[in-house]
Symmetry: C2
Subunit: 218 residues, 2 copies
Amino acid sequence: MQVGIIGGTGAEGRGLAARLGAASVSALIGSRDLARARETVERLRSDGGGASLEAATNDAVVERSDVVFLAVPFASADDLAAAYGDRFRPGAVVVDLTVPMRFHDGAPVFVDVPEGSAAERLRARLPPPVRVAAALKTIPASVLGRLDQPLDCDDFVCGDSPEARAAASDVLSRIPTLRILDAGGLDAARALERMTLLAVGLNKRYRVRSARFRMVGL
Amino acid sequence: MQVGIIGGTGAEGRGLAARLGAASVSALIGSRDLARARETVERLRSDGGGASLEAATNDAVVERSDVVFLAVPFASADDLAAAYGDRFRPGAVVVDLTVPMRFHDGAPVFVDVPEGSAAERLRARLPPPVRVAAALKTIPASVLGRLDQPLDCDDFVCGDSPEARAAASDVLSRIPTLRILDAGGLDAARALERMTLLAVGLNKRYRVRSARFRMVGL
């Protein structure tokens, strides 16, 4: 099962690439610009953990991957869904990492999405055979990218089908120190995306960049 | 500063009463029915932790308390706001514990609130001099009521003013094993109320009743 990342050179995508590489998961690290993807993979290799990673264009990620992590800004998701919708592999699962948030005068502002969440919006814009999950919404890029630090938190995976959740969970459960929780249907993203805003606010108020969630009693 | 609970005999209110009693916080435990309030306080006393608690009617809670925890079903909040709005003490802080959720065929369903959250809806329905905070939204009643078990989690307090947040936090920070976090403005309740639904779903999926949140990296 081929894994790939669209937007693998951005902060969140690079963090995921680092964690997958450290766990020896074969993954295509995509960028619009192949040179940039190569640069990212080279850097991860020189840090000692990128042997299982391969640089690719976003186009190649879409055409070759069965599980595709979408690690782009929320503002780009619509265009990518339109451009790639019909080009995913049969049975492909797209795992949405986007959060509908923008910064206004330095303060995070939630973007209200008519569909309820960015994940449900993406679902509505992809053809039905492509399945959609959401994951890693609440884990800060800065934490994901610091391989010297354990994640030591939970990731909430939701999806439009048990198959989509299982595909995302199978990949992510290979990352040590991260516990994967089944958060149910895709509408759980309504909670998860708002939790990101909550965590960003806590980061600001408590002057850290590392706030993330762990369930107790579970 | 007098503390009181409207709905102190329901599951969540009783759990809060138990924790406040165990921490020797003087609090009025309110019910529509004084006899029921007395029964609850008697039971907490016989468990050894209710010496600081006093049974009262909800009316007396409103008239005598400076910090009023509203621990009623979401469906009752509108009526209570209408009935008590003008009767709170000057400078009173109402701390909303309600979650806009109902059960449909045994499954939890979120009730979309036009104001964005139950807490903001309450804010809109109370006169401006009454200040509003939200707290304990994400802590299950069953956990709150089990005094033999540490809470071992975080509580996210948000409010319409720093004063409202401080009043709620001052009271709740007297409960051991609970960390109080400043979640900012009242609109943070949009995240917190959805987190409750997420936790209820996790409880169901993982067959527990105790799922609650702790921030890591903070």
